[in-house]
């Protein structure tokens, strides 16, 4: 009897996850229905106007979608030359050594620093440098936000990549060495191709992180409503516009912001599912 109740409780808890997810999607859809009704799904997505003034009120998500994709992909690009060496350092060259556990703990701590502290660092330390570099007058913008995002996602990209690299059996690598290959050639022709899908999955997950990152970006991107066309531009991401404007929003504007939240949720969900799918396939093999 007691066991039956307990098993029932376990099942109920699992069911709660199902209901929670269903509830998340339901409220996001329901609360944003207004704006999709008003402009149509594509009319909302592809419209770059965002004008909350009552007389000319108009809402479109396009400039924020572009801002999000722009910063996230540029951050991903910036993080590769750092996260890949870290992955090779920990998963290949110094696999199993003390120095590798030191490096990986230090890099993992980067993931523990709160987004808002990254924002402060970007504002007080990096922004003056960006101004000095002459990127733009205020320092704020896509460039600054992407640099900080890149640092933030290094641990996500590197630790998972290192894990996949370290799983490559020594026997296969020895096969390459026994043919006269150097370590670098073995990495280039054997290790990286073998770990490639896992590494791709790691970077997709890191991209998902970058897409949804809020505070640091909000503090650094400049918060302007425009479609950014270059790294010097300021802009807004989907997450930063919600963080900035949610507080005073109501009516159609609130619905539009929730609509942006729904789109952001869908984009990150798809990105994460792709990464998880790749990894599931790997673990089966």
């Amino acid at each position: 009897m007691k066991d039956k109740i307990f098993k029932g409780l376990l099942f109920a808890a699992a069911l709660a996850i199902l209901l929670l997810t269903a509830g998340v999607i339901y409220v996001l859809v329901k609360q944003s229905l207004n704006v999709f009704h008003e402009y149509g799904v594509f009319g909302f997505i592809f419209n770059a106007e965002w004008d909350p003034r009552p007389e000319t009120e108009e809402y479109g998500a396009w400039s924020f979608i572009i801002g999000t994709l722009f910063t996230a992909f540029f951050a991903l690009l910036l993080c590769i030359p750092f996260s890949l060496p870290v992955a090779l350092f920990n998963g290949e060259y110094f696999k199993g050594y003390k120095i590798s556990s030191f490096v990986s703990s230090v890099v993992d701590l980067l993931a523990g620093i709160p987004s808002i502290v990254y924002g402060l660092w970007g504002f007080y330390t990096l922004r003056p440098i960006v101004i000095q570099l002459g990127v733009n007058a205020q320092g704020f913008g896509i460039f600054l936000a992407s640099i900080v995002l890149a640092v933030m996602i290094i641990p996500y990209a590197s630790s998972l990549s290192a894990e996949f690299l370290s799983m490559i059996p020594d026997t296969v690598k020895e096969g390459a060495y026994s043919l006269g290959a150097t370590r670098a050639e073995t990495i280039r022709h054997v290790s990286l191709p073998m770990a490639s899908s896992g590494i791709v999955a790691a970077y997709i997950l890191a991209l998902g992180r970058a897409l949804g990152e809020t505070m640091a970006v909000t503090m650094l991107i400049g918060n302007t409503t425009n479609v950014p066309t270059s790294l010097r531009d300021t802009g807004n991401t989907m997450a930063s516009v919600i963080a900035n404007q949610f507080g005073e929003a109501d009516g159609l504007k609130l619905s539009a912001l929730i609509g942006i939240g729904l789109l952001l949720f869908l984009i990150t969900a798809v990105i994460n599912l792709i990464a998880k799918f790749i990894m599931k396939k790997l673990s089966v093999r």
Partner: protein, 292 residues
């Protein structure tokens, strides 16, 4: 097979190999620099105001800070309202998360082949990847709107949704690593399923589960975005879960937006970093100590 294959490029390739190794080391080293830069900045600017007052007084108003500044004194006040708020919000979130997260984790580890369990597992991944700002929106709609007030409770709900997938995953993975014989021998002794889980399985997996909870707490500790949409912030110490409440990251955000209060921003960040790194460190020790 008397003719030998010609290899003339050995030296060049060996040099290239060394260069690649050097670059890997160099860039790995460079990747660690931001952490030290951030810690340095927070410590060097934050230690001055890191004193008893920080823990005993509420955040100053912009006006008080301005007056103090004009008369050349250090700005008054601390972050007591943030500290109590963080304790209240995170504490409640932990209370919500632990039973639910543990139960789901147990369920998933006990039914690895079950189709429903697999669906739940997928959804857990989905929740884990959900941006924190979206979670803020959810908690706003679910709690703030019906109660017509920003509240600590709403903040806790948001943080619970963030922590839940992490705790579920760490519980599930820890329990899956336990040998099957552990459970079977318990059941063979005639113990009930419930007591085997609570007396044998959970204690054996304690290290992994506890580590998972600590890491989840350290992850949500510094979350700002979801709290902006739910707990909002308050200028006084508040223990009422239905009222707007501040939190350390919320105070940092306020200080950031108010030029008069900037001096105290670094001490608040320093405290936040210390707590987070401490949690990470304890988690590491626990994981090592109670290794399966």
């Amino acid at each position: 097979m008397s003719d030998r294959v010609k290899f003339s490029n050995v030296k060049k390739r060996a040099a290239k190999d060394k260069i690649v190794f050097g670059l890997v080391c160099l860039f790995s080293f460079l990747s660690m620099i931001p952490l030290f830069l951030i810690i340095w900045e927070v410590v060097s600017k934050g230690y001055k105001n890191f004193n008893w007052r920080l823990f005993t007084q509420v955040a100053p108003s912009s006006m008080d800070a301005l007056i103090a500044k004009m008369s050349g004194e250090p700005i008054p006040g601390g972050i007591l309202n943030g500290i109590t708020g963080t304790i209240l919000i995170v504490g409640m979130a932990v209370l919500f998360t632990i039973p639910l997260g543990l139960f789901v984790g147990i369920y998933l580890s006990e039914h690895p082949e079950n189709k429903f369990a697999r669906t739940v597992s997928y959804l857990t991944d989905l929740l884990q990847g959900m941006p924190s700002i979206v979670i803020g929106i959810i908690a706003y709609i679910w709690v703030v709107k019906p109660l017509r007030s920003y509240s600590a409770l709403a903040g806790s709900v948001a943080l619970t949704i963030m922590m839940l997938p992490m705790v579920v995953r760490s519980t599930e993975e820890t329990l899956k690593m336990l040998p099957r014989t552990l459970k079977e021998s318990g059941l063979a002794l005639g113990a009930s399923y419930t007591s085997v889980i609570f007396r044998v399985i959970l204690p054996s997996g304690f290290g992994g589960i506890f580590t998972g909870i600590l890491l989840a707490v350290s992850r949500v500790m510094g979350e700002t975005a979801p709290l902006m949409l739910t707990a909002l912030g308050a200028t006084v110490v508040n223990w009422n879960i239905l009222k707007p409440t501040s939190a350390i990251p919320l105070l940092i955000w306020d200080f950031y937006n108010d030029p008069n209060l900037v001096d105290i921003i670094w001490s608040a960040s320093l405290l936040l970093l210390i707590v987070i790194f401490l949690l990470n460190w304890i988690a590491k020790i626990v994981a090592r100590r109670w290794k399966i």
